[in-house]
């Protein structure tokens, strides 16, 4: 049973916030509006990036826009997000991130010191991940037509895994690894929004994932699929993957790490941490035979130190994600219709 209010807009005539939630409305925007128009082999990979032929090589290409409020939050800022987000999408395709572009949309009236701090963070993040920012663009929009800074980064990487890493390669019996505790980014951002005003030591999980992935690949772990968990959280990412590969995933809720602060905030706001955004967590699908090696490698990395085996790909060929809780009861995970809104009921 779906735990969330299933109401979708009574008409589809305007864009709503839910269209950007990563949930069912986003999905429908994609299937109804985008896919029919832009149909080609590469866009249909149903991944956050496209793996493209380039002579004998494979080039991975991805894009993301970043629109977070506030621009600075505990543990990071929009500049870091913009670099790590795209670096991570490349890493999730088994690629080494090489080049980034940066498109800034600045709102008239933004303090220059804010811009400077964001750019400094981007530069530092790029350096720390070994990616080079090579081309950019800056637009300024009128006051009231932006939100301080929007950043688009696109990235080009070179596939370093020997086979493609993509949803289609997920196999029955694969073990599902989660790199760390979930929900920290979403809650850290919320906590710093006006009105909610938590106090906590909670910081966003915002982090680059490329080194961890590179270590897995270098160690010869047979990675079938990787996915970073962003908007929509762990649940949405897994539902999408289950649909892409047409398989049933079984998860053990008690193995999914959630920090005390995230748990507390979710209780108060009536949110489900499974659907809260992350910016430095990923799931990896590896065959049983690799799972021990993968876990031990990941636990040795910064990004994967809290890594857990949270589930398995089952025998069923219905695209669904079943979560078993500590009572032994099952619940099927679904896409949220729109944004997860705080609940008081």
């Amino acid at each position: 049973m779906d735990l969330h209010c299933p109401i979708l807009p009574t008409d589809n005539d305007t864009v709503r916030l839910g269209h950007g939630s990563g949930g069912a409305m986003t999905q429908r925007l994609l299937t109804d509006y985008i896919q029919p128009l832009f149909n080609n082999t590469w866009i249909s990979q149903a991944h956050d990036s496209a793996t493209l032929p380039w002579n004998t090589d494979r080039l991975v290409f991805t894009t993301d826009s970043f629109v977070v409020t506030p621009l600075f939050f505990p543990g990071g800022n929009i500049g870091e997000l913009a670099v790590y987000g795209t670096v991570n999408d490349l890493a999730m395709a088994g690629a080494e991130p090489k080049f980034l572009s940066c498109g800034l949309i600045l709102e008239e009236g933004l303090p220059m010191v804010t811009l400077k701090r964001v750019l400094q963070s981007m530069a530092k993040a790029a350096q720390s991940t070994g990616v080079m920012l090579v081309t950019g663009d800056t637009k300024v929009v009128e006051r009231g037509k932006g939100d301080g800074i929007y950043i688009n980064t696109s990235g080009v990487g070179q596939q370093i895994s020997q086979w493609p890493i993509e949803p289609g390669r997920i196999c029955r019996g694969d073990v599902i690894l989660l790199s760390g505790d979930i929900g920290r980014h979403g809650i850290a951002v919320m906590a710093s929004r006006e009105g909610l005003e938590f106090e906590s030591n909670l910081t966003s999980d915002c982090a680059p994932l490329n080194r961890a992935v590179a270590e897995l690949i270098q160690a010869g772990v047979e990675i079938h699929c990787l996915r970073d968990l962003t908007r929509g959280g762990l649940a949405t990412a897994l539902v999408e993957l289950a649909e892409s590969c047409g398989k049933t995933f079984s998860l053990d809720e008690s193995r999914i790490p959630v920090s005390e602060a995230v748990e507390g905030a979710c209780e108060i706001l009536g949110l489900d941490p499974l659907y809260v955004a992350n910016e430095g967590r990923f799931v990896a699908f590896v065959p049983e035979s690799s799972s021990k090696l993968a876990t031990s490698i990941l636990r040795g990395t910064v990004a994967g130190s809290l890594c857990e085996i949270i589930g398995r790909v089952g025998d069923g060929d219905h695209p669904q994600v079943a979560l078993k809780n500590s009572l032994g009861c099952d619940r099927l995970l679904q896409r949220l219709p729109g944004e997860q809104l705080p609940r008081i009921c």
């Binding site: 049973m1 299933p6 305007t14 864009v15 219905h318 099952d330 099927l332």
Partner: protein
């Protein structure tokens, strides 16, 4: 978290479930009053732990389900006005009015803020003296208390730019109304723990007595709920009809006297229209004369509506446990979650929406419920 984790312990819960299995000798139908309890039942899959004959019917304690359409329409009217900051809890934004919902007003440029506490709305009014700040004050006694506190602070601070659109419900009259029906199928109640933390449960004794029905004040964690069910079933199997308090850590018989006197200062009792059910006498709260200047319906001259929010939907019978969603001719035809005709299709805790999703799940598995209509 203390006072939460221990009530989610799988071993404890399974122990109670086993006892329940032993205790129940035949089918029983119970109603959990509060949407928060419904949510926990769904989230933890508690139905899976109950003996097959024990059926939990979702009660009318979900504000998303029972807030009348006319209130939503009024909210939409006000929220679309210039120079208004309209404040609402997140879950009300998707509830459809007769032609639109608050999310659509927001997309159209209305200044709508999702708040977590009515005190935030008050704060916004202080910060924005040139705007009218309007709060959508919905829900039951628990929320009514918070709203009463907010309104008395607004009065104390003479905040002339603050008002509330009131749609407050009282639980006990609704339980009485359910019991009073000749066709009532409910055999026991899990009463709403947080409502009782405010009201206490003195008034329930007479209800239990009059209608020969067990009432167990119940908390919200899985162990609370399953214990509440066990206590109810024990009474039923034993032929008793008493009021019991499962949620003793938060609820006393007298309730919260401070809160009660505050409620009386701000509100008075009136008839109330429940979406999909209709009018129930003395089941609502409206502002007293001293607080009438904070009434948004008055301040913004909202029309009094005809309350025709049904459009051929069986929601009344469904909310009372008399019919099943698939008995409704509109179910999954004209009425579905994207385009709900009635309240029980609106919230995920609503019975029709729950059936709709369950139907989906089954058809994925290749079989279908006997009663489910063809797609």
């Amino acid at each position: 978290m203390k006072y939460l984790q221990e009530y989610r312990n799988g071993d404890c819960i399974r122990t109670v479930a086993a006892e329940l299995e032993k205790t129940s000798s035949r089918p029983w139908t119970l109603m959990e009053i509060c949407g928060g309890q419904t949510h926990a039942i769904a989230k933890y899959g508690l139905q899976q732990l109950l003996p097959p004959g024990i059926q939990l019917v979702h009660g009318p304690g979900c504000p998303v389900c029972v807030t009348p359409q006319e209130i939503i329409d009024g909210a939409i009217t006000i929220a679309a006005m210039p120079d208004v900051i309209f404040c609402s809890y997140g879950d009300m934004l998707r509830v459809p009015g007769s032609v639109s919902d608050l999310l659509q007003v927001k997309a159209g440029g209305g200044d709508i803020r999702i708040i977590y506490s009515p005190l935030q709305a008050l704060h916004l009014a202080e910060q924005n003296p040139n705007k009218q700040v309007v709060f959508l004050a919905i829900g039951f006694e628990t929320t009514a208390t918070a709203n009463a506190l907010t309104l008395s602070l607004a009065k104390q601070k003479s905040l002339h730019n603050f008002s509330a659109l009131i749609s407050q419900f009282l639980v006990a009259p609704a339980i009485r109304s359910i019991c009073a029906r000749k066709d009532c199928q409910i055999q026991g109640f899990l009463a709403a723990g947080h409502v009782c933390a405010i009201t206490g449960y003195e008034q329930y004794h007479q209800l239990a007595e009059n209608y020969h029905i067990p009432i167990v004040i119940t908390g919200f964690e899985p162990l609370d709920i399953i214990e509440g069910v066990l206590r109810c079933i024990r009474q039923l199997e034993g032929g008793h009809y008493r009021v019991e308090n499962q949620y003793q850590r938060a609820v006393t018989q007298a309730g919260n006297r401070t809160a009660q006197s505050l409620l009386k200062t701000v509100f008075k009792i009136s008839a109330q229209h429940w979406r999909g059910i209709g009018e129930i006498p003395t089941s609502g709260l409206i502002l007293k004369e001293e607080y009438a200047s904070f009434d948004a319906a008055r301040r913004f001259n909202l029309p009094t509506s005809n309350r025709a929010d049904n459009r051929g939907c069986l929601s009344g019978e469904i909310l009372l446990g008399l019919k099943k969603p698939c008995d409704c001719p509109h179910f999954a035809q004209k009425c579905h979650p994207q385009q709900p005709l009635g309240a029980p299709m609106v919230s995920s805790e609503g019975a029709c929406a729950a059936y709709y999703h369950y139907r989906d799940q089954v058809s994925v598995n290749g079989s279908a419920l006997p009663n489910s209509p063809n797609r």
